[in-house]
Symmetry: C2
């Protein structure tokens, strides 16, 4: 039997492609196995379980997004940087809807390895008798995932430097921008803006311009 050359990374990549084609929710261990022309059980040598696969896909997407965001922001400042950054998310979501959805996949809060050990050690089940083939533990993967997330918020703060906000206004601004971008992209992807004028693209730039204006005139205390 010829080997298919599976690996955690290749599975994540294939899963990402599949997500863009049929939707992130339809990405299943079985579907990825089919894509490789391989038995389902074979994937479990490279991936802990279904959610592990999804988290890997999320990490791929988050990393790609951070790379593009970094490239877009480089050499720009102020409104240009803001628009470029925002456009990265919107464009990515349009070209890779499945990947974008994946990037919003929060892995279920598993108890930490130590807390598991704390409970299991001394129990009746053998400690190290778990898997046959070792798959990189979720915690190290989680690190990669978290790192990508951190890159995003740092890029956002970099863009905000031009607007000269002090704390806690800057944190508020980060949260607001993140909310607008994520919210707009999500709603647009869901088709919420498809059936009324003006076009979604025009609204988008005008909204970003409004945010630029708002950041330049961030209210101190009492607005209006």
């Amino acid at each position: 039997m010829a080997r298919a050359g599976l690996s955690g990374e290749r599975l994540a990549l294939a899963g990402a492609e599949l997500a863009d084609e049929v939707g992130f929710d339809q990405v299943t261990v079985s579907a990825v196995a089919r894509r490789f022309g391989v038995q389902v059980a074979s994937l479990y040598s490279h991936v802990r379980n279904s959610d592990d696969l999804k988290t890997r896909i999320a990490t791929v997407a988050l990393t790609e997004l951070a790379d593009q965001a970094a490239a877009a922001v480089a050499g720009r400042a102020g409104r240009d940087a803001l628009l470029a950054l925002a456009d990265v998310y919107r464009t990515y979501a349009q070209h890779h809807p499945g990947r974008y959805k994946a990037s919003r996949h929060t892995p279920p809060t598993t108890p930490t390895a130590s807390s598991i050990d704390g409970v299991v050690a001394g129990g009746s089940r053998g400690v190290a008798s778990g898997q046959r083939r070792r798959v990189p533990s979720t915690s190290v993967l989680g690190t990669e995932y978290v790192a990508a997330g951190r890159r995003h918020s740092e890029l956002m703060r970099a863009v905000l430097r031009a607007y000269d906000l002090d704390e806690p206004a800057q944190t508020d601004a980060v949260r607001m921008l993140g909310s607008v971008i994520h919210g707009y992209v999500t709603l647009e992807l869901a088709g919420a803006f498809a059936y009324s004028a003006p076009g979604s693209a025009e609204s988008w730039t005008r909204i970003v311009d409004s945010l630029d204006f708002l950041l330049h005139n961030w209210p101190e205390r009492h607005p209006s």
Copy 2:
């Protein structure tokens, strides 16, 4: 055998409760059946399929949200109305995370009944031979779902009246507000704001105040 008294509505309600308890993604036809102490197949007399159940839950949530939003906006204007409306979404999402997630569930774009008929009629499969027990067709349900959605955007526009925006600025503002609210609530629910100061609640009111300011000073053309 005593009857459990199932109905489409009761299933949707039970599904909504279940969603808040275990998460919308864990809501399954099987789980709801278990909740009623009833065989799984029994539910299919009241619900077309799994997605139909989910869409009904979404409609429940969307309607509850619209009711609360209408009550919150009544008798208020300007910043007060804006904050009240925004708070409804945030509070609802915190108290009913499963329902809120459900409210964002977009039913898969099924071809309309007419287009299905257009294709199937004349084919080899009998037209009306479908179900044994008739369940309200998805299209009429979809109407209810769409109606609830419309209520939301109308409430938003009502709040915006105080700010005196003309088209297309008003549409832009509706889209921006919807994005911020949905985005913030989603990110907060995902725990994105849980691990850094300031608290999520303080950011929230300051962001809404900023939006109030922005709406009062909506830029005409060239910002900054």
